[in-house]
Each structure stands twice: as C-alpha cells, then as structure tokens.
Amino acid sequence: MSGFATLLYKEVLRFWKVGFQTVAAPVLSTLLYLLVFAHALSSHVQVFPGVTYMQFLVPGLAMMSMLQNAFANSSSSLIQSKITGNIVFILLPPLAPAELFLAYLLAAIVRAMVVGAGVFLATVWMVPLPLAHPFWALAFALVGSGLLAALGIIAGIWVEKFDQLAAFQNFIVMPLTFLAGVFYSVQTLPPFWQAVSRLNPFFYAVDGFRYGFFGEADVAPAASLAIATGAFAALSWLTLFLLQRGYKLRH
C-alpha cells in the first residue's frame, strides 16, 4: 500500500471508529431539522410547483450536513493530531504534500457521502423524491464536500486551539451553510439579500444539488458547477501551497 493509500485508510478508519459521533449524530440532527421545519412551515411554503416543502427541504438539508461534515472531518482530524502531537508520525514519513492533501480531502468526502447517504436512507420512507439528473446531483455532492474538505484542511493547519476551530466552525461554516438556500429559495429574498447569497459559494452547491433532484434551480446548474468547482480549485491550490511551505506544520 502506498503512503497515500495508508493515510486515506487511516483517516476513514478514524471517523468510522467513532461512527455514532461522526455519522449517526449528523443524520439524526438533519432528521430533526426536517421534522421541525416541515411541520412549522409546510402549509405556508411552496417553492417549486408540484414539490412539497418536505421534498424541497431534503436535498438542501442533506447537502448542508454533507458540507458541515466534510469540514468537520479534515479540520478536527488535523487539529487533534496537532494538539496531541501525533502529527509527527505523518510528517516524518516520506509523504508528499499532494499525498497529504488528497488523503485528508478524500477521507472528508467519504464521510460527507456516508452522511448524505444516511440522510436519504432515513428520509426516503417518508419523503419520496424524484431524481431528475443523478449525475448533476453526484457532481455537486463531490465538489461541494471537496470544497469544505479543503477549507477544513486549511482551518486545521491554521488554528492552534480547539476554541479557534470552534470559532471558525460557528462563525464562518455554520452561517454560510445555513444561509445557502437550504430552507428557502433565494428567489424569495429581497434583491439585496439575493445578491449577498450569490456571493456565498456554498449556495451554488446546495442549489445545483437540488437541481439534480427536481430539475429546477435558482441558477443554471452549469454556472453553479463552474463557480463551485472554481472555488474548490482555488482552495485546493491554497491548501497545497500551505502544505508545501510546511506552514504551521514544519517550523
């Protein structure tokens, strides 16, 4: 097994060994969102014709939890290794910066996919969903979780304390995922907030992902995919740059 494959395996094993925390818990909280919001709002909102609010919510909630878990996986793994000091066991072997990057990235994407699949498995019996363009849905799932996985690696490299990571998570990742059009269509917002929403790269991941199910979206899916992929590429480049420089990892 190559060094990269081993690190990927270790990173997947790491979250799988604590699956209650890393998979079951996010699936459950997504279900709670679905039940509460659907009950409170279902009679008032219809976003797309022929699509109930429950149906509208499921892909958005699934994507939100995929984004959050992709970020949580890479960032928490790195910060734990840094704080406990066992990061040396990864820094001493002959692993290239690109290998480190890909292993942390892919492990986070795997966790996001498992959580996403968990959300659909848990909701499919009460909310039947169409699947108009499965490949679009898959593309957005991969790019969206990749984007947050890369951001998680940057956060994990950059922060020095759990407190700082919590700040990153609660003041940047949470608001940006919550306000990415998960609970509403941005078309319903006043023009100013619509424009603000369009500055949020996570919005394109949610909107494009939903297109994969209903064949309808606020933004053309190709444009969304281009923007999300562009953001992913930019963050990946930054992550690789930091890893190559040894920023905050090699002193």
Partner: protein, 317 residues
C-alpha cells in the same frame, strides 16, 4: 559520505536563536551522543534532520540525501523517536505499527513488526489500545514506530526519560544490537552515565552551538581524571599531598591520580604520616565532570564576551 551531514545550520524562533551555525558529521555505524542542557538546541537539530523544522541557513543530509531536496529518500533513511510521548488514541499497538509501515510504503511488514514487538517487550500488548499503555510502554511503541522501515540512521531524543531500569536495559540491548548490525545511532540523553557507556563519540551543545566534539575517551582524558578520595579521621593531610589535593565537604580529600602506581604512592604518603584513614575510594573519570567543566567554561566565555563586564569577571577568575 557521512551518515548524517549537518553544515552551517542556523535556526531562529522569533528572537530566540535555537541553532547558531551547527556543523557536524556523523559517520556510518557510529553510536553518537548529543548532549547539552535544556534549550541548547538538541531537539531543534533533530527536528531539522527529520524535516520537522526548516533551517534558516545551512544544509542537512542523511545518507547523502538532502533533507529538503530529496526529502523522500532522506526520510526513508532516518527513524526518529521524538522526545515527547505522543500517540494516536484511535488505534491499537499493532494497528499503529501497521499504519506507520504503510506511510513508508511497506505492505507486508508483519514479520518485522512481530520482531520489534518482541525485542521491545510489547508482544503481550500488541492488541491493546494505545490509551491503555503506561508511559514507558508508549515510549517503546514510539521506538518501534521509528524502526518500522529499518532506517540506516536511528535518532533517539531522550528515549529513556520516565522508563524504568529494567526496560531501559531492554531498550539499550536492542539499540546496541542494531548498532552492531551497522545502524548509525544518534542519541540525546540527560543520563550522562548512559551516554558514557554507549556513545563512542560525543558532541556537547550550548546556546545553539557545538562547544565540544570528540571521542568519549579523549573527552574523558582531557576533562576528567581518576581521583583517590580519602576521608581522614581527625588528622591533617600530609604536606606532600596538599599541593594537588582539594578539600571536599564532610572531611573528604580529593587527590588526582593518574594510574594505580599513583594510588600506591598516595597511600604510602598517608601511612608514613600516620594518618588514620576512615574511608577511601578510587573514582574513575566521569562524563558528568566533563560536562560540568565544559558548560562552566562556556558560561565564563559568554560573560567574557559580553560588553561592559570584563573588570567584574577578573574578581571571579
């Protein structure tokens, strides 16, 4: 080509100068000791060898591979046991060693892992979670982790801190056998007795510089001596001996002696003078004495070099 080649390495952390131009060549098969007080720069130097610290100036190579340019080959050639006890609480001992092998691209390493476990007295703990191990055991797992890829150069940064006597012996027997099999060993330790027994050559560091570098034998000969220590029972030291002897606490005298003949002579003088010897011992040269003398010399040199204090120093010399 030396096994470890350090040339003019400098490293600053903010205002602190951790390495102030270190040049050092460790030859193949050496058992090399790197000694110095806390903060001398030993760990920074080891980190730079392993690529954990990036020097501001100078170059480092392991088995001829530059640690920056040919980092893959350089890291394959060296196994480092870090000073701090660190572990991944998610895994068992065997998983930890299998993962570490994998990071070096080694697939089928079970036989060597079994041997490492046995040599380090860890076989019984192979399937125990890392969290459940004692500090000494965790440290031995770290030694095994550093050796999974059979590196030609082995670096141990204070490997025996907090390890009990018996396990310390197990560890040294194993490391000695690796050295005998051709592995180059670089050791830092605060146990100078250990360094004296194990290391064939020693470098002493202070304030980021190497202040002494020689074979253990020559360092001992130059800075330490064999002494006869006698405790006299209510009588004076004969005059022939007072020139060289120094008085110690508790009525002990310290008389430098080169060989056994000198010991005989000194005792003869004592007998002639009718001195009643309450107690006596012959102390062999000790690395600790070498260390203390060199560090004191360096401290004085540092004061001398500092501007504005030369007059003050004259009173203490």
């Amino acid at each position: 080509m030396p096994a470890v080649d350090v040339r003019g390495v400098e490293k600053r952390f903010g205002a602190v100068c951790a390495l102030a131009g270190v040049t050092l060549a460790i030859e193949h098969g050496e058992f090399f000791g790197l000694l110095g007080p806390n903060g001398a720069g030993k760990t920074t130097l080891i980190s730079a060898i392993g690529g954990l610290a990036i020097p501001d100036a100078g170059s480092l190579a392991v088995m001829g591979h530059d640690v920056r340019r040919d980092y893959r080959e350089a890291r394959r050639a060296v196994g480092i046991v870090p000073q701090e006890i660190v572990f991944d609480p998610f895994f068992t001992v065997r998983e930890t060693l299998e993962l570490q092998s994998g990071y070096f691209g080694l697939r089928r390493n079970a036989a060597w892992i079994d041997e490492l476990l046995e040599k380090l007295a860890l076989t019984g703990k192979a399937n125990a979670n890392m969290r459940s191990l004692s500090g000494g055991m965790k440290r031995r797992v770290m030694v095994a982790q550093a050796l999974v890829h059979r590196p030609p150069v082995i670096v141990l940064d204070e490997p025996t801190a907090g390890v009990d006597v018996e396990l310390r012996q197990t560890l040294w027997t194993f490391i000695r056998s690796l050295n005998a099999a051709g592995h180059t060993i670089l050791l830092t330790t605060h146990y100078l007795e250990e360094a004296q027994q194990l290391c064939s050559r020693i470098a002493m560091m202070k304030d980021g510089r190497i202040v002494a570098l020689d074979s253990t034998t020559r360092l001992l000969a130059a800075f330490s001596e064999r002494v006869l220590r006698v405790k006299l029972d209510r009588c004076e030291l004969p005059q022939v001996l007072t020139a060289t002897a120094t008085e110690e606490a508790g009525g002990w005298w310290r008389i430098p002696v080169q060989g056994s003949a000198h010991v005989e002579d000194a005792l003869a003088h004592l007998r002639e003078a009718g001195a009643a010897i309450e107690s006596l011992e012959v102390a062999e040269p000790e690395l600790e004495e070498v260390f203390v003398k060199i560090m004191r010399r360096e401290a004085l040199a540092a004061i001398e070099m500092a501007p504005g204090v030369p007059n003050l120093l004259g009173q203490f010399k």
